[in-house]
Structures are given as C-alpha cells and as structure tokens.
C-alpha cells in the first residue's frame, strides 16, 4: 500500500492540475479557420443576385409558363399547372427561397449601415422591395416586419397585410432613391448586375417603384397615378431605365459560377411543348422573336410546319395532335443567356399604360413602340422596320394591345405576366376545356404547409383576415 502514497497521490495531484488545462485552447480550436464571421456590405450581394435571378427564371418556367399559356407539360396525362392545378406544394420553394435571400438582403443593409455606405443600403432597400413585392403578390399577407429575426428570438413572426407591405416598400424605394450617391463609388467587390454602376442601380430602384405603383394603381388610397406622374415627369430626380443596356437583366456568361440554372439543358425541353396562344399571337405579328423562342412544329413526316403549339388545358389523349408541336429552345437557357429582373421594355409599357390612362395617346404610342422594340432586341432579335405596319402590331389605343406586347416583354420574367394578368385580365387568354377551378385563373398561391406547422396562430389570423387560404382569394390590389 505504500505505493499508493508514493505514486498515486502525486499522480492524482498532477492530474488535478491538468484539469484546469482541460479546456485550454478550445476557443481557438473551435473557431472555423476558413469561414468568415464578419462581412462587408458587398459580401452577400452577388450570390443573392444570382440565386434570386436564377430561381425566378425557374419559377417562370414552372409556374408562369403554364398559367400564362407560354408553354405546357406535354404529354400531360395528370392535371398539371396549365390546367390550374395549383396545390399546397406549388409555392413552397418560392416561400423558402425568398425568405432565405431576404435574410441575406437584410444583412447587406445592416452591413451597409454599419459601414456608413448609403449606396449599399439603398441597393438592399431596392432588392428588399423587389422580393417582398413578388412574395406578397404570390401569397397575399406575409411576415415582413417580424420576419427574419430569429437572431432576436422571434421564431413565429406576425404577418403583414399586402397594403402594409406595399406602403412600406414603396416608401423604402423612395428613401433608397434619396440615399443613392452616384458620385460615391461602390468599393466592396464588383456586382454582377450593374458592375458597380450606381446610376443604373438608382434607375433600377425607380423603375421598380414604377412597377409597384402600377401594380397598386387600382387602390385610390395609394395615389399611384400621381406618384407615377412625378416619377415619369421628373427624370432628374427619378432616373429610370432608358435603354436595354441599363436594364436589370442578369447576364449569365456560362463561366462558372455564372452558369445556367439548368444543369442539363434537355430538362428544359423534355416533356414540354410551346403553348398555342403564345405562338399564335406571335405568328399573327410575324414576330422575329418566334425563332428566338421556339422550334418549328413538324408533321408526321418530320417536315417543318411552322410555329404551332398545343392548346393549354386540353382534354383527351395526346394522339389528337397529329404533329410534333413547337417547343421552347434550349438556347434560352444555355449560357450565355439572360435572366430578366426588370427590363427597360417594362418601363416603357408602364409609361404606355400611364399615358393611355391619361388619354395622351401620342405619348402612349411612342412608349408602346419603344417598349416593343426594346423587348424584341432584348432577346437578340432585330426589330423589323415594318413591324408596326402590321395592323395587329400597331398601337390602336387599347390596353389589350399594350398588354399583349407587355406579355411578350415579360417573357421569362419571374411571375410578372401572371401578376399583370391578375391586375388587368390581359392579354385575354383562351380557356381550355380541361382547366380546373372553373377555368378561373388562380389569384394566388396557397401558403406552404410549413406555415401551419410552425406558425399556426399567425397563419390563422392572416388567413381569416384575407378570407381564406385558397387560390381564388384576390390580392388587395385586385380588389
């Protein structure tokens, strides 16, 4: 037993001394040597721009093409989106993706405020308005004020009404316009959208405000027409896009990481046909964009028979179509390619509608023609000199005419065609006999199931305020 005192006691004593050292250096070891924990205002900007633009393009493909009769699943034995089969899952990626990047946008703003950089703060406000507008136009009320604040312990955010959201983001865009300082350079990296051209960012901000004002123009309390007037007639204070080169169109060079969102180009065309409505109107216009957008249909002998699509919402077997229909082209989604965010053409069509409303048809015609030309050229087509001599193409003083062309101008631009259709009912779309929902265009997406799981109380109050959680609940600006 002598050994116990001779060896064990000293050993235990030294072990006890070691105890203090047992967590020594842990702080340093448990610090990631690789990932950053502090950002600059520019750190999050490019991934945010790319991911949002790429995602929006995919949603145009998944949702807007089908609802707006651009293209459809073909063959489609099961209902499919072109027959208005909107279910609980349809909006779930829109919801989660938008909030994910809204989180990044919030952090850009916080970093800009911390760095005292007004330009990045204004960019963050612009992007925030862009995403929230799309989000609320898809769903209605959505969490905004209390959203993205898990860091502060808010895990069940309250929903804001669409009106609250629009009032906030329009005001934000106004402040952002004032914040932009075009004489101050953007110094935190090079942004992939405008290459640090602050003026273009500012144009984007104001062009976006035009889009949002037009969207809510049916709500008299928003005073949208007056506000639009002050923007359109005050280009010095509110510069907007004047050319395709200035527009918010993300160019994907194909040089990684600016790759096409479509990993396999054939996924874009497989099981898909162009819609009859989309091609028929282009055929009438003899539009040069046809060859940019679609392939020619072929008869059973494999001979080209021109641009011919499949009617949306058809019933019966595919064998009734005794031709191989036109399809959208893989070139649209093969880099180099473009991701429209907010185009110059849209700005002109907003102006056209503004002038049309105030009966200044000369100005409306000019804006309309600029819009059409910009929209044609945006896809690399050449504007035929005789385009407007076609009676179907010339400005005829109707909103229907403006909106048919705006529909093509908004091609592949997230949900914009659908939002505009909900606002104006234009262009007039044919109804297929197989359409569900009584052939009525869905007015919104259903909240994702996650809301009933995680945030039931606020979900319920939002739903009761809106009058339900189904696809026919109209947006506030539709009412």
């Amino acid at each position: 037993m002598k050994q116990i005192t001779r060896y064990i006691v000293p050993a235990l004593a030294s072990a006890a001394l070691l105890l203090g050292a047992c967590t020594k250096g842990f702080e340093k070891i448990n610090t990631d040597p690789n990932k950053i924990s502090i950002i600059s205002p520019g750190t999050l900007l490019n991934p945010t721009l790319y991911e949002l633009a790429a995602f929006n393009m995919q949603k145009a493909d998944d949702i807007t093409f089908d609802l707006m009769q651009v293209a459809l699943n073909f063959p489609s034995p099961t209902p499919g989106m072109h027959r208005y089969d909107v279910n609980e899952g349809t909006g779930s990626s829109t919801w989660s993706t938008y909030y994910r990047w809204l989180k990044n946008i919030r952090e850009i703003r916080e970093a800009a405020v911390a760095a005292g950089d007004p330009n990045y703060a204004a960019i963050a406000l612009t992007l925030n308005a862009w995403v929230y507008a799309n989000l609320t136009d898809c769903f209605g009320s959505v969490p905004m004020e209390e959203a993205i604040r898990a860091d502060e312990g808010i895990i069940q955010p309250r929903y804001n009404t669409q009106e609250e959201i629009y009032r906030t983001i329009i005001a934000d865009l106004d402040s952002a316009n004032r914040l932009f300082n075009t004489s101050r350079a953007m110094t935190f990296g090079t942004d992939i959208l405008f290459g640090n051209n602050v003026t273009n960012w500012k144009r984007f901000c104001n062009s976006l405000q035009m889009r949002l004002l037009l969207r809510v123009s049916a709500r008299p309390e928003m005073n949208a027409w007056t506000r639009l007037d002050s923007i359109i007639n005050n280009p010095t204070k509110y510069p907007v896009f004047n050319a395709n080169t200035e527009a918010a169109v993300l160019k994907l060079t194909g040089v990684y990481p600016l790759s096409s969102p479509w990993g396999r180009p054939q996924d874009f065309t497989t099981g898909r046909a162009a819609a009859q409505f989309f091609l028929d109107s282009l055929n009438v216009l003899n539009d040069p964009r046809r060859a940019r957008f679609a392939s020619q249909a072929k008869d059973l002998n494999n001979v080209n028979i021109g641009y011919k699509g499949i009617p949306s919402g058809y019933t019966g077997s595919e064998s009734q179509f005794n031709f191989t229909p036109s399809n959208l082209l893989q070139a649209l989604i093969s880099a180099p390619m473009t991701c429209p965010i907010l185009t110059y053409a849209e700005v002109e069509f907003i102006k056209a509608e503004f002038y049309h409303r105030s009966q200044r048809h000369d100005l409306a015609r000019a804006a309309y023609e600029k819009g059409v030309k910009a929209a044609v050229e945006q896809w690399g087509a050449t504007m035929p000199a005789t385009y407007f001599s076609n009676a179907s193409a010339a400005y005829n003083g109707t909103l229907q005419r403006i909106h048919l062309q705006k529909y093509y101008a908004l091609f592949f631009n997230d949900y914009q065609q659908w939002f505009e259709y909900r606002r104006t009912g234009l262009p007039v779309l044919p109804q297929g006999p197989g359409m569900l929902n009584g052939g009525v265009m869905p007015s919104r997406l259903i909240y994702p199931v996650s809301q009933r799981i995680y945030n039931l109380e606020h979900y319920n109050s939002a739903v009761s305020q809106m009058g339900g959680d189904h696809i026919n609940i109209k947006a506030w600006w539709q009412q």
Binding site: A21, T23, F26, N30, G189, Q451
Partner: protein, 1070 residues
C-alpha cells in the same frame, strides 16, 4: 529455426502436461539438440492451432520457440533438460506447463491446456486486458481467421454474420466500398452519429467517409456531380496483420472510450513479434475473382418506344424520322414493338446515324451484362518476425491489386507495417507499431442516380441497342467533342463513363503508436502512449466535354488532409488483499486532437477538351475549403474488485471536455458499474453446467457531435469570389453533450464440459439530449437550427450459441450461431421541432422520417390510396389515385439478423461455411422505379400483348362506395404511374435475405510432409457471397444510399451490382 520430422505421435491422456520424470543427471552431458514434438489440445481435446510455445530450460535459461500448425502440432529441436513451457494463444492468454526432455529419445508430447472460458483474456477499453469471466458486459472476440478465411475487399465485410448485434451497411459502391458498422441499433438521430469506433492497436481510426463534394445520391437534373466512394481508413487495415478483434458492445466497456464509442467499439490487435529465436517468415498469397452475384430480370421481348403507333395503328420503330414515320428512338422507355423478326430503320454505327436499309429488329441480350467483366484481386503478403526473451519484432509488407468488375476500375494498395515490443530494462518496456499504406486508383466508380454513374446507364439502356455501338466512345473526327450516345441525350456513353469520367485517388496514410510501460513494482505500473493517424489524399475527378451535366467538361482536384493524435497515460495498481480480494485500480487521461482539411478546387468548363488541369478552366478555379478541427480531453479511472475469483465488480468514471460544445456545457462526468458472478463457483450446479456466469452493467456516457463550429455564427461559402451567404443553419451557443444511459444483463453458460457455450444478452439504452439539426420556419431567415433534444430507446437481445459437436483429435465439428434483434423506438422529439416528425435523411422521394412512438429507421413516402378493405383505389383515368399525404411505408432496420457457421476439421483438412441473413426491413428502390417506368423489367410485360392493363383494385363511385376498376390503360402509362418515383410503397421491397456468405476448404501440410524448410504450409479455396435468396428484385438487398459522407439505410439509389467472390489462398511459414 531448426526443423525436425515428427515421429509418430504418442497420444498420452491425462491432465495438464504429462511429464515423464526422467532423472536429470543422465542428461547433463548431452548438449546436442534433439527432436521434440507434440500437439497442443484444449480442454475438450481439440487441437489449438497458432499457439506459441516458449521453452525455457530451467538451469541454463536457454530458450526455444515453436508454434503449432493447423492440427495443433509443433516440433523443434532442443537439448535435453527440464523446461518450463509457456503456451500462448490468441484470445486465451498464456499458461505455463513443465516438460522434461530426456536425452537419447524422441518423444511426442501432448500439452493439454485449460483453454476455455475461464482464463480467456479479452482486450477491453483502453487496451486493458481483462479476464473474460470478470467482464460485466458483452464482448465478442474474433481471431485472425475470421477476417482472412474468405477475404473481402474491405475486411470489415467479413464481420457479417459473426457478431451478434453488429450491423453492417454499405452503399455497394465499388471496390473500396465504405461500410457503416454499428452495434445495437441506431441510438442517434443524426445520420452520421451511429458509427462504431474502430481502434487499431490503440489508435482510433476514422470510420466516417470523406465526400467527393456531392451530398446527395439522387442528383439527376441538378447539374451536379455524383458522389464517389473513395473509401475510409477502415478499409486500409490490412487483414493479414490482424491478430484478433474484440467487439465491445456493452456500455460498460464503451464508457471508458467515451464519446466516440457511442455506436460501440471494435478493437483490433495486430500481430506482433513473438519472442522466438531466429526468423519466422510467413508468405501468404491470395487470389480471388469477382463476378456479378445477381442480375435483375431484364426483359428482352420488346424494344425501344413509348407506345407510339403508326398510321396503321401498329407499334413501330424508327431511328429518327424515316419512311416508316416520325422517330421513336429518343426515348429511354422500352414500350416499343415486340421483337418478332420484323425489319425497321435502325441506328447504323458505321454511319453514326440511321441505316439506309431496314434491318432486323432484335434484342441484344448481353447489352447490360456484357459491359461487366470478371474482377480479380491478387494479394501477396510477407511477414517476418523474430525476437528473444526480451521482446520481438514483426514486419510485414502487403501488396494488393484489384481490378473491379466495371471496366477501368480497381485499385492498388501497398501496406508496410512494422512493430515490436522490447523490455528495455527489468522495469521499462516499450512497444511500437507503424504502418504505412498507399492506396491508388486511376478510377473508382461513381455512385448514385445521375448521368455520370454507370448505374444510370444500366437503367436507361434499351433492349434493342447493341452495347458495341457505344464502344468507339467519340464520334468520328470529333474525338473529345461529341460522344456517341445515339438515342437519348440523357444517357452518357458507358465507355465514356468508364474510361474518361474518371475518379482517381492517391492516398497515403500512416498509423503509428509508441508506448512505454514502467513497472515501479510488481503491483504498480504506468503506461504512456502516443498515437497518430494521418491521411493525405489527392483525388481528381474528370468530366469530359459533351456530357449531360457538363457540356464543356469539368475538372476537380480534391486534397484531403487528416491528422489525429492521441496522447494518454494509465497508472495501474494491482493488489491482493486478505488473500481473497483482488483489487485493480487504474487512472488515466487522454488528449485527442483531430484536424481535417479538405480543399476542393475545380473548373466548371474547360478550354481545351480532354486537358484536365486547373489552368485549363474557362474561369479561374473555384476553391472551396473545409476545415474540421476538434479536441477532446479526458480523465478516467477504473476500479475493479474481485472476491474469491468468483464475484467481480468494476466501477469506471470518465470526465470528458469537448472543444465542439458550448464553453458552458462542454464537459461531463459519466460513471459505470459492471458486475459479474460466477454462479458455477458459488453454487453447486448440476453436472452439465461446467461454467455459469451472470453479468450486469449500468453505464452512462456523453457524446459530442464531432462537428465543430456549431456554436458560433459563420457565413457559408459561395463560389462567387469574395462572397459568402448568410448561414442557413442557426447556430446554438448552448450546445451540450448527448447523453446515453445503458443497461445490460447477460448469462454465459458452458455446458457438457464446455462443449456447449450459450451466451444471452439483453440490453436497453436511452439516448437523450441529442445534438440535431431541425428544420425551422423559413420566415425566420433560417432553414434549420442546431438543438439538443429527443429521446431514443434501443433494446434488444443477442444470442451466441457455440457448440463443439464432435471433438476428436483428428475430427472436429464446431457450430457457431449468432442471432440478434434490436428494437429502436423514438420516445420523444424536441418540442422545438413543431411538426410531429423529423427527417433524418432523404433519398429521392423516400424519407427516413421519425415520429414519437416510431423508429428512427422508418421510411415514409407516398403510397397507394386504399379502400377500407385494402384494395388500391384507381381514378377515373384507370391509374392509381394519388394520396395527398406521405405515409409510413416500412422500416429500414431488420427485425433480426443471424448467422450460422460450421467448421469441420479432419486431419489436415478444414472446411467451414457461414450462412447469414436478416429477416424484415425494407428497401426503396430507385432503380426499380425507373426500370419499371421504362418497361425494362420482366414484370412490365404484363398487358403488352393486349395493349392495355386494367389495374387491380377499385374506383370510388360515391362517398365510401367502391366498384371494381374496369378502365383500360396503355401499359406505358400504367407502369409509369403505378411505379412513379414518388410511389415509395410500390417501389419498396422486403429486404429479408439469406446468403451463403462464406465457404472455405483448407488443407495444411502435416509436419512430416513439410520438409526441413517449412514450418507450416496450407492451401485453401474459398468463396464469399456465393448464393443469395431474397425477394429484392434488383441486385442486392444489402444496400444503402450514399449521401456524401452519410450512408442512408433503406434506400437504393442507383445500385451497382454486388459480387460473388471465389478465391484461393496459399500460406507458407518458414
């Protein structure tokens, strides 16, 4: 070493050593070494092969050494005299006998040992050797032959069926095939948290894998690459060097290994130099061939097509448009015309386009099987050992060359190992082991369901397509630019996949330890040890131009560096008090440091085709670096008491400090108590009971996640330079350890003089405060957050029954039977989850989803809608109605697993075979879905002749009213919908199987035939996975999905064929 020819053995009966007393004085003058031979038998009179005998002459201290052959025989030459003989055998410890070797005579001796249960020595936690009877928790020991008899590419595959309670799952991902070994069920809700700890000579081995950079097995359409299984450190252990394996299943044993042994511990002891004089040389050659074990039932009656008919209403075929009609050749479906001797315009490989003439419409029945070849593995091993009474050394060198069944795949491995132990002084001894492994492969197969995996090609290949059409790989004059894939742009050319989409690896790893033991007194000693496990790998992934996911090619370099060091000490005191109480007290500490660095550099888009260099990228290479560093410090102690050698009780305690947890809660103390009673010594049991032991154990344990940096906020990496993205996972600054409490009791019985050994264990464990990532409301700005919570129960029974059916010196027959069942139940989930379920892993449309009251192996997915009497409900369109909610489909875990091994010895022959299998469990098969949807399997022939199928089931005619379904549906439409990907029910199958896992026949040359030169020689032929009975329709029910580093059970995601191995083995000892 002197050799001698054994004389005729005189079998002498009796206890212990039969020593004939010869007067020592007669022998004094003789100094000439004379033959001495005999046989070592165990308690039941069976030969003990592989035992080492150390003879020590009593007067001169001169020593001799010998070892026994397969028949337990030994021979040597020694001068006459009186000797003490120490007989040492793996897993048994050593015993000492006395022996007199008279002059002038050549006698043969029988050394009968007590080798049985009582003195078995088991290597337990921290390398502490304990007597088997003192253990309070279940352990199982395997010898070298268990892993070498019927070799697998990954030695761990040989554990299958031999250890009760061991579960081995593997994605079946090629020649280096990572495996996940777990013991006693999945306790953690973290998909990676259930691996058993593997310790080789005290050095913990990394058992997780390194991902090739892709985390999802289902990747088609994502534009991503595929996961590649580069193997893990486990696979690099050379089975030739393994002496024994201890499997510590019980909580008491793992309590001392702490957090890493959450899934149990497997301790491997490698061979070390024996204390023999002269050199012992062993040469071992092993050659095996691999063929595909089982093929799915491919149909070769109908060719390519989607059911398109011509103007005459007939199914027809046309490669591209032709006078016969529009092209039908773009599809991967095989719902086209029957092979009826008709002629169609088809692909002409010479024209690389449509043939000018119609040619015979015929199947090519070997167009999938013909792609595969016979694989082979040649392994050569030489080991040298030697020593003296102070110690010994052993060195071995092993080379393996594998060519796998897929063309242009395989690996080469070289392992050099050296180790030894030496008594530096009377008090100080030293031991060390160093092993170096180089593993090289030019190409390992990609796994999963994506264009670059060969599994994808096998699914998409059509019956009317000749495999040879693909052989030139590239179109004429478009080498490197345009591949030949004439049918669907979705499938990449299989030879392009095999020869140009390569995944190479060059890995160098070093496992080393160095230990000293100082004996202060006979009762007190101190052991200190340092260990190191280092791995450095260089991998390259090449993707040529014009492939589905990489139109202009892709090249990735991956550098993986891993280093883990451990330093520990153990102070042990041993004393006997009052002659009846034995006390062993040990106290020790360990500090573990792990550093992992993975750097991925890639270029997506190459400038010059076929040049795989980072400088050939269209853009600057993108670099993504991951570091994982962590440290665990521990202090622990064990106090073991025994009373009269029949009552045993141990107390252990361990305190861990983990760097990965919150500073506020990063340490934990956990104790264990283990007790055993030798009933046969305490009570007078009936005669058949030779030995009976009752044991019990209660233990706590704490675990960290082994994932660092979870308690701080970091931005995620982005491929955009100078960029990052806001974290998607909300960190947790209060992260605390996962806890486990385990209970175990067992009974060990030896009946009929030890000829029947029955060991039954019942256990239960509760795992709480799990570290898990749960999904959160996206509106919070995060997708998931890290929390502590949840409670999982595992309980089960393990049975080991070993019988010595026949035990004669020249004929014996032993049977070993193992059986285990585990029930896994989730008792609670964290309240923060909000939803009533938690998704552990996702494979395609199958979810490993757990709910309270369910199991962590539950697979959920969409199924069929069924009427109250269980019939499938069809819609008005004649297709199965789709349910709105996912449902429970089945459990990935087997109800039970078992194995039965028989071993026969007859003179110099040894024959053994192992049958093992499992009952229950399901596998969701992506391959089955796709091949059914595409009409590639025989079961899709139904309805083709008629041109329609009426699904068996009902239609709903009103609320609660049903009528039989009568709607006819075209076969292509029917199968596509019935077996749609999301229909997990239709594509899931019973995973029960029985396999003839191993069979082996060995012949050992007897001493008299060996000649002077050889000590022993044996030749064996063996087979592995020879036969399989299973209802699983694809290759093999033993499969899993490889999601990056995680192996997801119950899901098959683009399976590669599994193999049948037949081999031969030749061993010589000099």
């Amino acid at each position: 070493m002197n050799m001698n020819v054994t004389r005729q053995a005189t079998v002498l009966a009796g206890m212990a050593l039969l020593a004939t007393a010869f007067p020592a004085s007669l022998l004094q003058a003789q100094e000439i070494a004379r033959p001495l031979s005999g046989q070592v038998l165990d308690e039941q009179g069976q030969p003990v092969p592989g035992a080492t005998l150390l003879l020590r002459k009593k007067d001169t201290k001169q020593t001799y050494q010998a070892s026994t052959d397969a028949a337990g025989s030994f021979s040597l030459a020694a001068v006459a005299g009186n000797y003490t003989v120490t007989i040492t055998s793996v897993g048994y410890g050593s015993e000492t006998r006395e022996l007199a070797h008279p002059a002038g005579k050549a006698l043969s001796y029988v050394l009968k040992t007590d080798y049985s249960t009582l003195n078995n020595v088991v290597v337990t936690a921290l390398g502490i050797k304990r007597e088997y009877k003192a253990l309070g928790s279940a352990t199982q020991t395997l010898g070298s032959k268990e892993v070498n008899d019927a070799r697998a590419n990954n030695w761990s595959a040989a554990l299958s069926g031999k250890v009760a309670g061991l579960s081995l799952i593997s994605p079946g991902s090629g020649p280096v095939n990572s495996t996940r070994i777990s013991l006693r069920g999945d306790a953690a809700l973290d998909a990676d948290g259930n691996n058993a700890l593997i310790v080789i000579d005290g050095v913990p081995i990394q058992s997780g894998g390194n991902t090739s950079g892709v985390s999802s097995a289902y990747g088609a359409g994502s534009g991503n690459d595929v996961p590649v299984d580069f193997g893990n450190g486990l696979q690099d252990i050379n089975p030739d060097d393994i002496e024994s394996i201890s499997i510590l299943k019980g909580p008491g044993a793992t309590a001392l290994y702490g957090s890493r042994a959450g899934g149990g511990a497997i301790l491997i002891t490698t061979k070390s130099g024996s204390k023999q004089k002269g050199i012992g040389i062993t040469v071992n050659s092993n050659y095996s061939i691999n063929t595909v074990l089982k093929w799915p039932d491919y149909q070769y009656e109908y060719g390519q097509g989607t059911g398109t008919v011509n103007s005459a209403g007939q199914l027809y075929y046309s490669y591209g448009a032709s006078p016969d009609g529009p092209g039908t050749s773009g599809t991967s479906s095989a719902f086209g015309p029957k092979f009826d001797g008709q002629l169609y315009f088809q692909y002409d490989p010479n024209k690389e386009g449509r043939g000018d003439e119609r040619t015979l419409w015929r199947p090519y029945k070997d167009n999938i099987t013909g792609f595969w070849r016979t694989g082979s593995t040649l392994t050569n091993n030489i080991s040298l050992e030697g020593g003296n009474e102070r110690g010994g050394m052993r060195a071995s060198i092993t080379h393996s060359k594998n060519t796998w069944i897929m063309p242009n795949t395989g690996y080469e491995r070289l392992t050099v190992q050296a180790g030894g132990n030496y008594k530096l002084s009377d008090k100080l001894s030293m031991n060390t082991r160093l092993s170096y492994t180089n593993k090289k492969s030019d190409n390992l197969p990609a796994t999963g369901y994506n264009n670059q995996s060969i599994a994808y090609f096998m699914i998409f290949q059509n019956p009317n397509v000749d495999l040879n059409w693909y052989r030139p790989i590239w179109k004429r004059n478009q080498h490197g630019l345009q591949q030949i894939h004439p049918f669907s742009s979705f499938i990449d050319n299989p030879f392009l996949i095999a020869h140009e989409m390569t995944n190479s690896i060059n890995a160098n790893s070093v496992v080393a330890n160095l230990g000293f033991r100082y004996e202060f007194t006979k009762k007190l000693d101190l052991a200190v040890r340092g260990t190191m496990n280092m791995n450095s790998e260089f991998r390259e992934m090449r993707r040529p131009f014009n492939t589905a996911n990489f139109l202009s090619g892709y090249y990735k370099q991956q550098d993986v560096g891993f280093l883990e060091t451990n330093a520990d000490f153990l102070l042990s005191y041993h004393d006997r008090i009052a002659d009846r109480v034995d006390v062993k007290v040990s106290a020790g500490g360990n500090t573990m440091n792990a550093k992992e660095h993975v750097s991925n550099a890639f270029v997506d888009g190459l400038v010059v085709p076929g040049v795989y260099k980072l400088t050939n990228g269209q853009a600057s290479p993108t670099l993504m670096v991951t570091d994982n560093n962590f440290k665990v410090n521990s202090l622990y102690g064990i106090a073991a008491f025994s009373y009269r050698d029949r009552y045993f009780i141990d107390f252990t305690g361990r305190q861990d400090w983990w760097s990965t947890l919150s500073p506020k809660s990063n340490s934990m103390f956990y104790p264990s108590v283990n007790a055993s009673v030798i009933l046969s010594d305490v009570f007078a049991l009936p005669k058949p009971f030779a030995f009976a032991k009752l044991r019990g154990s209660v233990a706590g344990a704490g675990f960290d996640s082994r994932k660092p940096y979870l308690n701080k906020r970091y931005y995620d990496q982005s491929p955009f330079s100078g960029s990052a993205t806001a974290p998607n996972v909300l960190f947790n600054e209060n992260l605390s350890p996962r806890r486990q409490v385990s209970y175990e009791t067992g009974l060990d019985l030896r009946l009929f003089s030890g000829r029947v050994h029955l060991d039954v264990t019942y256990y239960q464990n509760f795992t709480t405060n799990q570290i898990m990532e749960i999904p959160v409301d996206p509106t919070t700005g995060y997708a998931r957050k890290v929390i502590n919570g949840g409670k999982v129960q595992n309980k089960g029974v393990e049975i080991l029954l070993a019988t010595k059916n026949i035990a004669k010196p020249h004929f014996s027959w032993n049977t070993t039977f193992t059986w285990a069942r585990n029930r896994n139940k989730v008792l609670s989930l964290p309240a923060e989850i909000e939803s009533d379920y938690f998704v552990i892993a996702t494979g395609g449309n199958a979810y490993q989803q757990t709910r309270v009251g369910g199991s962590s192996g539950d697979i959920y997915g969409f199924g069929f809608l069924r009427s109250p009497d269980g019939q499938i409900i069809y819609g008005a369109n004649g297709l199965p109605a789709r349910p709105a909610e996912v449902q429970y489909i089945g459990n990935a875990y087997a109800d039970w697993k078992g194995g039965i091994q028989n071993e026969f010895r007859y003179r110099n022959f040894r024959f053994s075979f192992l049958i093992d299998g499992q009952y229950g469990g399901i596998v969701y098969s992506q391959t089955h879905h796709k091949m059914s949807e595409q009409g590639k399997l025989e079961h899709t022939l139904r309805g083709r002749a008629e041109g329609y199928i009426i699904g068996e089931g009902v239609v709903e005619t009103g609320p609660g009213r049903y009528a039989p379904n009568t709607t006819k549906v075209a076969p292509a439409t029917f199968y596509a919908e019935y077996y749609r990907r999301a229909n997990v029910e239709a594509n899931s199958f019973d995973a029960s199987f029985v396999k003839l896992r191993e069979a082996r026949l060995e012949y050992s040359l007897s001493k008299k035939h060996l000649g002077k030169f050889f000590k022993s020689a044996s030749f064996a032929v063996y087979g592995r996975d020879l036969l399989m009975l299973s209802r699983f329709p694809m290759f093999d029910p033993e499969t899993a999905a490889l999601n990056g580093t995680s192996i997801m059970p119950g899901v098959e995601m683009g399976q590669l064929p599994s193999t049948r191995t037949i081999g031969a083995n030749l061993t010589f000892k000099f």
